[in-house]
Amino acid sequence: TVGERSTGPLAEAPTLPLIQELLKEAPDKQQRKPQVLERPMRYMLELYQRSADAHGHPRENRTIGATMVRLVRPLANVAKPLKGPRHIQTLDFPLRPNQVAYQLVRATVIYHHQLQLAGFQLSCHVEPWVQKSPTNCSPSLGRGSSKPSLLSEAWTEMDVTQHVQKRLRNHKRHRILRLCFMCQHQKGSAGQELLWHGTSSLDTTFLLLYFNDTHKSVQKAKLLPGGLEEFMERDSSLLLRRAR
C-alpha cells in the first residue's frame, strides 16, 4: 500500500527521477529470473527463512553467525566419462576480492553425499585439491581436509575456511578455490562405464562464504585478526581515537 493512490510498477514510470537513478544501481533486467526449484536457491531460501521472518526482520535467535552469506557456484566444467567405480572431478570456485569492511569468518562447501545417476547409487565426498598433478585430482587420503558433517539426509558440510583464507592472502587476482569432487559406486561394481555429464556436481555442490561487517566490530572495540590490516591502515587514526 502506498499512500492513497495505487501504483503499478514504479520501474515503468519515466517521470520519477529518483526511481530512475535507483534503477541504474540494480543489475541488468535481462538477467534470468532465478528458478526457485534449483537446489542452491532452495538451500539459501531455507537459510533465509531460518534467519529472518516474513517481513525481512532478522530473527533474534538466528544462528547464522554472520551478516552476509554468499553462495558461490562452481564454474562450468567439462565432464569426462570414466570407467570403473570411481568418478573424480575438479570444481573451481571463483573468489571475488573482499568488499572493504567485510571480514571472512567462515567458509564451507556444501554437497550431496549421495547421488543417483543412471540408476546407480553413488557415494560422494569433497576434498581440497592438492597440487600433485596439474589436471587431476587424487584421493588425498583425508590429508589437508577437515571431517565433513552431515547437515541433513541430503546435504553434507565441510569446513574449508583455512583454504579460502590462504587463497585470499596469497593471490591478489584470479582467485580460485579448487576442490575435488569424488564419487564411487556404493556397490563397488567395477568395469561399468559411467557417463558423467558433470551438471550434477554443478548443481549439488557449492561454496558458502560467511562475512561480518568489520565496521560494526570496530565500534564494539573487538580484537581483529590480521586479515584486516589493509582496513586498519586506512583508518588507523580513527581506530586509535575510538579505542581511547
Partner: protein, 125 residues
C-alpha cells in the same frame, strides 16, 4: 529579548490545541520490490516497509519526542538571530535492519543484513 519574545510564543495550551494527527509521528509505508522493478534480483522479502516520519514539531520539544536538549536552541536562534537557521524537523530516530536474499550478476546468491533500513520511531531534531 527572550522575555519580549516569550509573550509571542503560543502557550502550552495553545500548542496542545493542535490536532495530534498533525504532530510529528511515524507513518506506515510499504512497497513491493515488484513495484520498484527489482523482483528479478531480490528474492526475499516480497515487501519492504521502511515507514516515514511526518508532522509538525512544536517550539517547545517535550520529552516524548526524544529530541536532544540542544534542539530547542535551533528554535531560539531561528527566532532571535537568523530565520534561515533551520528549525528542528520530524525525522526518524530509531531504525531496525532488514535481511535481503538476492541474486548477483554472476549467479551467486547473497544473504545480507542491511542496517538502518526501517524507521521505527521519530524525533524532532
Amino acid at each position: 529579548q527572550a522575555g519580549s519574545i516569550a509573550s509571542k510564543i503560543p502557550g502550552p495550551s495553545q500548542e496542545h490545541d493542535r490536532p495530534e494527527s498533525n504532530q510529528c509521528s511515524l507513518h506506515h509505508f510499504q512497497v513491493s520490490f515488484h513495484q520498484l522493478g527489482w523482483d528479478h534480483w531480490i528474492i526475499a522479502p516480497n515487501l519492504y516497509t521502511p515507514n516515514y516520519c511526518k508532522g509538525a514539531c512544536p517550539r517547545v520539544l517535550h520529552y516524548g519526542l526524544n529530541s536532544p536538549n540542544h534542539a530547542i536552541i535551533q528554535n531560539l536562534v531561528n527566532e532571535l538571530v537568523n530565520q534561515s537557521v533551520p528549525r528542528p524537523s520530524c525525522v526518524p530516530y530509531k531504525y531496525v535492519p532488514i535481511s535481503i536474499l538476492m541474486v548477483e550478476a554472476n549467479g551467486s546468491i547473497l544473504y545480507k543484513e542491511y542496517e538502518d533500513m526501517i524507521a521505527q520511531a521519530c524525533t524532532c531534531r
